[in-house]
């Protein structure tokens, strides 16, 4: 549960809750970006940034090239599938 997976911030969805739409290998869901917003920076500036996603939170920024290499390795080994399955899980409300 400590691994996380890289994704790209596509849009800011609920600024008051610091939520953004993050794309991980084509799957999009809302992710909290409070940990990666730089002080005084408008949330919109984060659009396009690559981040490491862990349990619904962007934990840090990652370099795009780095993110690609990580995703490729995870995909080749089938580990991406495991992460992606849980990423896809929507809460049953």
């Amino acid at each position: 549960m400590c691994l996380g997976i890289p994704g790209r911030i596509e849009a800011i969805t609920r600024p008051e809750a610091k939520l953004a739409l993050v794309d991980v290998l084509g799957v999009k869901r809302e992710i909290n970006i409070a940990c990666i917003v730089r002080e005084g920076e408008p949330l919109e500036e984060c659009i396009g940034a690559w981040v490491l996603v862990h349990v619904g939170f962007a934990m840090n920024r990652v370099d795009e090239h780095e993110a690609m290499l990580t995703l490729q390795l995870l995909k080749e080994l089938g580990d991406a599938q495991v992460e992606l399955e849980s990423y896809k899980t929507r809460a049953v409300v």
Partner: protein, 379 residues
């Protein structure tokens, strides 16, 4: 060479393995007195088995699998508490999938669900908060567990619940912190660990400062490591280099993600919502001082331990379980009497068999792959 070819950079991995073999030899390690490097984090344990790294390094160099899988160190009594809360009328109990199958003395959360409790698997604590918002007449409890990596997420979810005025949401807080436990291992009699691979994603939140005492006070090298095979090999070599040079320092192999100062926003949320407990019980290791956190008084309304009557019993592990010895590195998983017989990933007796970050499950799942040619010799 099959596995090395799966690495991100097979050439670099081969070069690292050659250097690791050289350093191990120069350090005079032998099968009788192998060099022991503990990987603290369960994510590393998973990678080590996933990529068969332990078959690639020299036999005189050993990985000792540390207690860094939060699911695996959860004591039976805490699982019983979860089941008790889940059985309270009107409760929706939410949890990460990994925790569903951890055995308690009266069964797991999965069994509680089969018996009629409303237990739901979520990807994120924020999903649990959404469930609370959608079900104002129910009490939604989130089973918060994990090290510093996961603490900001649950702390921020509590802050968000407060901001939105969602009163029917609470945490059953089982967050733990790895540093006091490393200290307990260092203090245990007969400790033979020569160096450590430090947990990359914990350090991403906490920064490197909390680990400094390991080098400064105990004279053991610690290298904060990433999770890919080449990261782990590189970190291992950095530890060996320190041993060769007779140094002990905290070094950061994972600088692409770990800022020495940690994550300011994450740390701020943690400090706002949580405070250290006097002690916390770890499966197999017993009670360790200051190794867990609880919800602060100011957020009592969001604390399941205050909202529900939690049994809080201390339950000893089953007699046949040797999880504690595996966690301390005293025995390897297959040496446990019930490994692969009474205890398998399908019917886990001990928690180390539940998650693929647990040493026993990782062993069971991956250690039986076809043998590989030790590259250090062949290349």
């Amino acid at each position: 060479m099959k596995y090395v070819d799966e690495f991100r950079d097979p050439l670099a991995a081969r070069a690292l393995l050659r250097e690791i073999a050289g350093a191990t030899e120069r350090l005079g390690a032998s099968l009788e007195r192998p060099l022991q490097i503990m990987e603290v984090c369960g994510g590393h344990t998973h990678s080590i088995f996933r990529y068969a790294l332990k078959d690639l390094i020299p036999p005189a160099l050993e990985f000792v699998h540390g207690p860094g899988c939060p699911v695996c160190v959860l004591p039976m009594g805490r699982v019983d508490d979860c089941v008790a809360i889940a059985n309270e009328p009107g409760v929706i109990f939410t949890t990460f999938g990994d925790a569903m199958r951890v055995p308690g003395s009266k069964g797991s959360l999965l069994q509680a669900r089969a018996d009629g409790a409303d237990v739901r698997m979520v990807y994120s604590p924020l999903d649990a908060l959404e469930i609370a918002a959608a079900n104002p007449g129910r009490d939604v409890v989130f089973f918060a567990l994990g090290f510093e990596t996961t603490m900001p997420s649950t702390a921020m979810t509590v802050l968000e619940a407060k901001r939105r005025g969602i009163g029917n949401f609470s945490l059953f807080c089982n967050h733990i912190t790895i540093v006091p436990t490393i200290k307990a291992i260092l203090d245990s009699p007969g400790m033979t660990i020569d160096g450590f691979l430090g947990p990359g994603h914990v350090a991403m939140v906490s920064g490197t400062a909390p680990f400094e005492f390991i080098a400064a006070e105990y004279g053991r090298p610690l290298v904060i490591s990433g999770f890919e095979p080449t990261d782990i090999l590189q970190s291992l070599l950095m530890v060996l280099r320190q041993l060769e040079q007779g140094r002990a320092a905290v070094e950061n192999q994972y600088a692409r993600l770990v800022d020495p100062g940690g994550n300011a926003a994450g740390l701020e949320a943690i400090t706002e919502v949580f405070e250290l407990r006097e002690f916390f019980e770890w499966r197999g290791l017993g009670s360790i001082d200051h190794s867990g956190v609880r919800v602060r008084e100011a957020y009592a309304a969001f604390d399941a331990e205050r909202r529900f009557s939690v049994p809080g019993a201390r339950i000893a592990d089953p007699k046949s379980c040797q999880c504690g010895e595996v966690l301390k590195g005293a025995i390897k998983p297959p040496q446990c009497k019930v490994f692969g017989t009474a205890c398998t990933p399908q019917t886990p007796l001990g928690a180390l068999m539940v998650s693929s970050e647990g040493a026993c499950a990782a062993y069971y799942q991956f250690a039986r792959r076809e043998p590989v040619i030790p590259i250090a010799v062949a290349a």
